[in-house]
């Protein structure tokens, strides 16, 4: 690395009024963690690496699939089936070889989150499910880390900056001041179910990178304690001011020990009829006769299941109509266990106790790690 190279590389931003070598050095010194290398993570990572952030962590345990490519622009057709963090690291290192990239090819859980997040200064939430979003938020609050949040759905996106204190006598607002309780599964659709405009991910992920750069360098006005909603169809942008919510502190784990005991994934799922089964029980069930396993993911979601016979019926189809199913035992599976929980409940509503109906906890991703 030469100073001359960097001067050339970053010259056009260094000469900006208010930026200068000082801001460039701040970018070089900071450690940013991007959780999720998907729709939001891809553009955020590209622009943070390009801008000269010195150390970047990437957390994702997913692999590249064809349906990602309309919005996850770090990847190509040659990468289908490969780990996202491995591909991302390669592409980003080619963009800026000076960036120190730390890849975590794993899912964020209560067991690893505090350790991983602790060594970074700023966190970007580019995840795609509520359980992880709340986990990340709570971990950041416990560890005192700034959190740049963003989320997208269909044609709209949200961006906010959480956990940055601005007033002496008032605590910093976090995601729980906006939505204190994890929403129940099936009520709010994810991208596979609702759809999302690819370029929206680019716009919102870039806005996330912008907020991070503002926080790091001190330029401009970061969205501290505010959330914006952007509509890509109309270009309407609305900004809302968030104040501390009385329920927020109550809903969060109080300390690291309590955090490690929190089950964020079950918190999303009401299992009144005891439909959810563990991996071990699933193993026992699938060896029985007259068991039908239904994969309720959208067609072409990876990884494919080759280990056992199953039927593919997307949840979206089940929600329209339930087919005649002769099997006595039905086990629903999906990527992480959320959609299969909703599917199992739908089937239970139809068949009641005339059949044994279950959903595999943790889904295919957890099962493949057994």
């Amino acid at each position: 690395m030469t100073d001359q190279n960097n001067d050339t590389r970053y010259r056009r931003q260094i000469i900006l009024p208010g930026f200068g070598d000082k801001a460039q050095q701040q970018l070089l010194n900071v450690r940013v963690l991007v959780i999720g290398a998907g729709g939001l993570g891809c553009p955020a990572l590209q622009y943070l690496v390009a801008a000269g952030v010195g150390t970047i962590g990437i957390v994702d345990d997913d692999i590249v699939s064809l349906s990602n490519l309309h919005r996850q622009v770090l990847y190509s057709v040659n990468d289908i089936g490969l780990s996202k963090v491995i591909v991302a690291e390669k592409v980003l290192k080619a963009l800026n070889p000076e960036t120190n990239i730390i890849s975590y090819n794993e899912r964020l859980t209560v067991d690893n989150a505090l350790l991983i997040i602790k060594s970074f200064d700023i966190v970007l939430d580019g995840t795609d499910n509520f359980a992880t979003r709340y986990l990340v938020n709570d971990a950041c609050v416990l560890l005192g880390k700034s959190l740049v949040y963003a989320a997208i759905s269909r044609y709209e996106g949200q961006v906010a900056v959480f956990n940055v204190k601005t007033k002496e006598n008032e605590r910093a607002v976090n995601y729980r001041d906006l939505f204190p309780t994890i929403p129940e599964e099936g009520i709010v659709q994810n991208c596979a179910e609702a759809g999302v405009l690819g370029v929206l991910a680019g716009i919102i992920g870039s806005m996330q990178a912008n907020e991070a750069i503002k926080l790091i360098s001190g330029i401009g006005k970061p969205l501290i304690g505010s959330i914006i909603n952007y509509n890509s169809l109309t270009n309407e942008l609305h900004e809302f001011c968030i104040t501390p919510h009385t329920d927020a502190e109550m809903m969060m784990p109080k300390n690291e020990a309590a955090f490690k005991q929190t089950d964020y994934f079950s918190a999303c799922v009401k299992d009144e009829n005891n439909l959810i089964i563990s991996k071990d029980i699933f193993e026992k069930f699938r060896l029985l006769n007259d068991v039908l396993i239904i994969d309720v993911r959208e067609k072409n979601e990876l990884p494919p299941i080759t280990e056992f016979n199953h039927l593919q019926i997307p949840l979206s189809e089940l929600q329209r109509s339930i087919p005649d199913i002769p099997a006595d035992i039905i086990i629903c599976i999906c990527q992480t266990g959320k959609r299969s929980g909703v599917a199992a409940q739908l089937l239970f509503d139809t068949f009641g106790n005339t059949k044994k109906i279950h959903s595999l906890t943790g889904g295919i991703l957890a099962w493949k790690e057994r």
Binding site: F130, A151, T181, N190, H238, C241, I242
Partner: protein, 77 residues
């Protein structure tokens, strides 16, 4: 009071509209009652209310011609 409501995200699909104006709305409590009876599916949806770009958590009285936004959580990424 006359109020102008904006529905964000999934809420605009549930109500079938992005914006509506209502007359004779006194406060957020009355608004929620009316919205839930007009659009029953809203009852199961989590959302926050913002009045003139400020999120509110308790019952708030409306000023004439204020803007009321209903914000749902998004999870996609």
């Amino acid at each position: 009071m006359k109020i102008n409501i904006i529905f964000f995200g999934q809420l605009s699909e549930i109500t079938g509209t992005k914006n509506i104006s209502l007359e004779d709305m006194a406060d957020t409590k009355a608004l929620n009652l009316l919205l839930h009876s007009t659009y029953p599916l809203l009852k199961d949806q989590p959302y926050r209310i913002a009045v003139n770009n400020q999120l509110v958590s308790e019952d708030v009285l409306f000023d004439e011609d204020c803007t009321v936004a209903l914000l749902p959580p998004f999870s996609g990424g």
